[in-house]
Amino acid sequence: MKLSKKIIGLITVATACIALPAHAALKVFACEPEWGALTQELGGNLVEVSVATTALQDPHQIQARPSLLARTRSADLLVCTGAELEAGWLPVLLQQSGNARIQPGQGGNFAAADFVRKLDVPARLDRAQGDVHAAGNPHIQTDPRNIALVAQALAARLQQVDPAHAGDYAARLADFSHRWNQALARWNTQAAPLRGMAVVSQHKAYAYLYDWLGIREVAVLEPKPGVEPSAAHLQQVLTTLKGTPARMTVFSAYQDPRAADWLSKNAGVPAVRIAFTVGGTDGAKDLFGLFDDTLERLLKPGSRP
């Protein structure tokens, strides 16, 4: 058949044109910056990490764009949050990638949320409640104790997909865990004044952060998860704050600051922009910096009498 000859010819030419890169490093496709940073910590020069999103992008709303498709094609390991955070774009990438290693259920598909205790698991699944996640709140990276748990699981997974370097991954995990635990102790001490503090959140994104620090969320600017703050709802928040005053409004680097700024102007509640993930602020250069910077930002208005 003429056509099949054409196709074979085309594929042969295309394959011949592409010099296959001779990278020995394990290719890791990280969906969010925090997992990219963690993989880099645990893999060092054994891994080549490519991060799909930046801290200035909303991880719920990413386009399955061509460059991401090209990267999933050659990935050996996918490190994502899971818990449906990437439901709007990752399935398309996986279906079109032609890469069997990273399909769900394979060793090359790592979902961090599988390894931590999830909060905000909805009792009732109904979209009338907004963009709820059946598996629970997916923003697990805001609690450093979760990072420690994911690190354990991720190191095990790296050893599984790259057994030749199992020893290196174990050594790197031990080193990371040691440094992380020391930092965690420091953060726990630093954050003591935040315990019991009342705050307002832009999005229900900080359940784990608050759980760790003992912070109370008294209001959320989004009327329902994923729904933009409306004027009517902001008025309602204002009324709530009269009864239960809050110390600050927390929002993430990628979010529109206008609603938080409005509240700051009308209720005198300072708006605090936190990195949310690695790269969100100048201070959040790596995972350690992420929590150093987050605590610093929370403590600034939080320590006022």
Partner: protein
């Protein structure tokens, strides 16, 4: 189980010391005490992490136990959704698109023609019927079949109470090497818009070029092989063989393929804010005794039969922009396609039969701008060119007028959430000869059920 006990003991000891150390924080504490405190804190943090790990393990063990013993009458935990019934747990993901339309137009849609273009009899062109109507409801089902295959079906329920299978295909998930094989009924991968379902279009209707050359949207029964190159630059090649079920094919029974197509797409990022995709595709289709309706410049449509081959080239490009790649607040999308169709063969009108050779083309260009969250504005402009058709002896009967159909559409849509959309579309349609047809469309599109992932 020594470890947890030790952990609790250490924790119980560590907490009061840590707490008192914090409250009585004297600035000039001796370095030894400081060091001791740090070590203790580190120890406490380490155990906290381990405790959480144990907690998580305990929770998953509990869940497993619950799943293993479904008849256990233990009080239900309301916070966790109950483990689904095992038989239903494997049900495919179900989604349903509901949509409806109000259409108003200054000229009667029943007289809608694309003069100079040979279309299959009963082709779905133009704005459809006036007034309020339900449009296509689309039921989607998809799931993994086994470790090697995935299957999906999209069933369209039409407002006239009929039903059609838009897509029903199986697809490999494990071929590797960038290869994906698809078999069944599916929308061809040619162009940009062709493989997208109607509910993900940015306008209520398809461009004129798709209506004239691809029977609104080309879907076929066949096989498709796609290959993604192992390069940094996105490069995707595809080949399709099919029955030739729809226009420009004609669904004849034959042993060979009635349709073949080749597609090539490339694309990438330009910084964080811009990304693009461009492609070139070609579709070949055969037809024998295909019933056509020809719209000459003057008079009523003429019925004819065409036997021969058609080749459609599609050049497509899309460019998207969002500040820092964050499309939540504002974003812009520019998209355009150029289609060129060549048909050659034999045309018979009544008893007169002679050669037919036509080269026709069409294009559209559209921009969609989300100027604030939930609100988008779009503009589309498009044109068709009938060329100079050669119908042999039939040429005088079918003499063209040189009229080039044109259309401009303006769209405004509002999406309360990503699952619902309300749209207003205004169009100035100069497809027909004579005065422009002014169209007003009001549309809703809602999606229920599974959270569908969106292609680029």
């Amino acid at each position: 189980m020594k470890t947890p006990t030790t952990a609790w003991l250490t924790l119980a000891l560590a907490i009061p010391i840590g707490a008192s150390a914090q409250t009585s924080a004297t600035p000039d504490a001796s370095p030894q005490i400081q060091q001791l405190r740090q070590e203790l804190d580190a120890l406490r943090a380490a155990y906290e992490t381990r405790l959480q790990a144990l907690e998580a393990r305990l929770q998953s063990a509990e869940q497993q136990a619950r799943r293993a013993a479904p008849n256990d009458d233990a009080p239900a935990v309301p916070a966790a959704p109950a483990a689904p019934d095992a038989a239903n747990a494997f049900n495919p993901a179900v989604s349903l698109i509901l949509s409806g339309l109000y259409a108003g137009s200054s000229r009667d849609p029943a007289s809608y023609r694309l003069p100079g273009f040979e279309l299959p009899t009963g082709a779905a062109i133009g704005p459809g019927s006036r007034g309020l109507s339900l449009t296509e409801s689309e039921l989607g089902l998809s799931a993994n079949i086994d470790p090697w295959w995935r299957g999906a079906a999209h069933i369209a329920l039409h407002p006239d109470d009929s039903m059609s299978v838009e897509e029903a295909f199986v697809q490999t998930t494990s071929l590797g090497d960038g290869l994906t094989f698809k078999g069944g009924r599916f929308y061809s991968g040619i162009g940009y818009l062709n493989s997208q379902h109607a509910h993900s279009w940015d306008f209520a209707d398809n461009p004129l070029a798709y209506q004239a050359f691809l029977g609104t949207q080309y879907g076929d029964d066949g096989v498709q092989l796609q290959w993604l190159a192992p390069t940094e630059q996105f490069l995707q090649l595809g080949a399709e063989l099919g029955r030739g079920r729809g226009f420009p094919g004609d669904d004849s029974s034959r042993n060979g393929a009635g349709m073949s197509a080749l597609t090539a797409h490339t694309g990438g990022d330009l910084g964080d804010s811009h990304n693009w995709r461009a492609g070139l595709s070609v579709l070949n289709a055969r037809a024998s005794q295909q019933a056509l309706s020809l719209a000459p410049a003057l008079g009523d449509p003429v019925g004819a039969k065409f036997s021969g081959s058609t080749r459609v080239w599609v050049l497509d490009g899309v460019w998207k922009w969002a500040p820092n790649g964050n499309a939540t607040r504002t974003h812009f999308k520019l998209q355009g396609e150029y289609l060129r169709s060549t048909r050659s063969g034999e045309l018979s009108i009544a008893s007169d039969s002679d050669r037919m050779h036509t080269i026709q083309s069409g294009w559209y260009l559209q921009g969609i701008y989300q100027f604030m969250p939930r609100w988008r504005l779009g503009l589309r402009t498009e044109a068709l060119n009938a060329g100079s058709p050669d119908y042999g002896v039939n040429t005088p009967v079918l003499a063209g007028s040189g009229h080039a159909p044109r259309k401009h559409s303006l769209m405004l849509d509002y999406s309360p959430s990503e699952f619902s959309r309300l749209r207003l579309q205004l169009a100035e349609d100069r497809a027909r000869i004579g005065s422009a047809d002014h169209q007003l469309l009001l549309q809703y599109q809602m999606s229920l059920g599974a959270h569908g992932a969106h292609g680029y």
